[in-house]
Symmetry: C2
Subunit: 359 residues, 2 copies
């Protein structure tokens, strides 16, 4: 393995449109990538993915590298995102996580009481997730666009560990949160440590940006988010601030939380399709960039709907340099890749970046 | 059957705290009721419900009357809501709707093309849903609080008819909406007519207020809502404006749509727990009342969490007379009725209505 010291440090892509957009700086063209751009929607993914679980695939750096590269090659997007999963750290320290196809993460023995804290030992990325670091290093050697590393935010990971499976109402999670604040914060603190260790190791291995997925934080009221989730997300984002890599935050249904999300230290706030980008900017001001936010269902509807929706997003952004085009949530498995190619083409050819200085 | 002409006209409960709160007028105490206050969370409901489907139960006026009355007796809430279902009109005109326990509405042959429009003939409530009208009349004779009638808004009913079952992403619905605007509006227009006919008949039979459930409208972006849903909800609410009964609108995840929902003609805007009531009022001004918005999960968490959450809602409302206390979504089936009783007690004893004139 070639030495990668110095490769992929924050300087390498400082002039890249994706990194400059994350920082709200003027740049050449509107950058675009898609959450879940790698994966089931791509025939080339289905061709090589094999029959193991996603956790098996993640443990294979050559396979994970190839899966990460596939959408970059096909679409010409402006960033790659590491093929991994937000439950990898919890799995790696032996919490008993499986990812069931068509269901999502499942926990053999969900988190229930203080005794379960002992099952959440610190993550040592070099020992526990060497395959993740190897994948990052391979990617950094091959990519000519920035690589986004990522981790699950404490609330969203907690919701999986407590519910034991994907949930609609998060009743066990909220019950623990509302009834045992001390245990809740102890759990969240350990999950924050997991995220910090994972993100730091990805950045050290060459990731040029990171995204903190608090996918389900939008299930919380603003008061709940502020009290029970925000301090722990803030701990995660603060811990990596000194690396200088842009920190993206994303969750769905977060319209009422945007100011609080900015407050936890995000450089880029991802918004789902519900929040109009001009309204988000009005609420957040110009010190954060925005990422989003075409409705993933418009891609399913077909090329006309997707292009029309893409143009609406670009129009609402009005050339603001602090914008990374994306969907408002992940690419749905039944999406037609040709539609996404056309979205990329429209963003790159029609997306204009104004010269306005974002101050 | 006794004549009910004149019974339950808008005048009957004009001085009732619920109706006055709907109109933003000063009144004695903060009114409270709960969406899904009747139903599976109550042991007395489970005792009499029987084994038929909910559609069978709705066709039995004596049973539906009793089910509607149960939570009013138990909790002392300030309004009853008709025991029925938003798919009743579509079922009654023979669209082929069943409601599967634990699943929700299912459609034998989902709406797919223009040919399916013929399956949506106009509703004649006297002929098609005489049992609904009989239940309303029985209730009006027995209740000493206002009865809320209701209907499903065109978008939400369309989502069931098109998806064929409850959905997470509404992909078929949005595909039809985005790809065949003419067919979409034809469908929505018929569904608006169904809602108008149903609501008018409930009001004529004595309902003192109505709620339009656009439960899933929050899946739409503001631009989508404005173009594809709002005109049809507006048609429904306009058609009953002359009756003078308060018109409540409710949906989850509607934070970004509140101004548009006000625009379709709601007198009362229901908000889920994500939207802080003070922020909603800031966006909407004082010409609409607000309904909500305790997180239903706080009721599951137990009496301490529920009471604490109740006090937060009351504090954020700050005594504004235009507030009807409710949950931010329906009562969850596993809720403890004793917790809800305590919520009602706290609202009634601690909820203060200021004298501020809402202008």
């Amino acid at each position: 393995m070639a030495s990668v010291v110095g490769v992929g440090t924050p300087d390498r892509f400082d002039d890249h449109c994706f990194i400059r957009a994350c920082r709200g700086l003027p740049h050449e063209r509107v950058p675009v990538w898609f959450m879940r751009q790698a994966g089931r929607s791509l025939p080339e993914y289905r061709a090589i993915r094999g029959t193991g679980t996603i956790l098996d695939a993640i443990k294979n750096p050559d396979l994970s590298t190839e899966i990460t590269l596939q959408p970059v090659r096909r679409y010409g997007v402006d960033a790659a995102i590491l093929y991994s999963d937000i439950v990898v750290p919890a799995h790696a320290i032996g919490f008993g996580v499986t990812v069931t196809p068509g269901v999502g993460p499942e926990i053999e023995e969900p988190f229930r009481s203080a005794a379960d804290l002992d099952r959440l030992r610190p993550l040592d990325p070099v020992v526990d997730t060497p395959y993740v670091l190897e994948t990052v290093r391979q990617l950094v050697g091959e990519l000519d666009v920035p690589l986004i590393g990522f981790a699950g935010a404490p609330f969203t990971v907690a919701s999986y560990l407590i519910e034991g499976r994907p949930s609609r109402d998060y009743l066990n999670t909220k019950s623990l949160m509302l009834n045992d604040e001390h245990l809740w914060h102890s759990l969240m603190d350990r999950l924050a440590d997991l995220a910090v260790a994972s993100l730091t190791s990805q950045i050290d291995s060459g990731a040029s940006a990171v995204q903190l997925f608090d996918s389900w934080a939008g299930a919380l009221s603003a008061a709940q988010y502020q009290r029970y989730a925000a301090p722990h997300s803030q701990k995660v984002l603060s811990a990596i601030e000194s690396t200088g890599v842009p920190r993206i935050h994303f969750g769905v249904n977060t319209g009422e939380l945007l100011e609080l999300i900015k407050g936890v230290g995000a450089d880029v706030v991802g918004i789902d399709w519900r929040v109009q980008i001009d309204r988000a900017r009005l609420r957040l001001g110009d010190t954060v960039a925005l990422q989003g936010n075409l409705d993933p269902a418009a891609v399913i509807a077909g090329v006309d709907a997707a292009v029309s929706g893409t143009r609406e997003v670009l129009a609402l952004n009005a050339g603001h340099p602090g914008h990374i085009f994306n969907l408002g949530h992940g690419v749905l498995p039944s999406s037609d890749p040709d539609v996404l190619s056309e979205v990329v083409r429209v963003v790159h050819t029609e997306g204009a970046v104004g010269s306005a200085d974002p101050t």
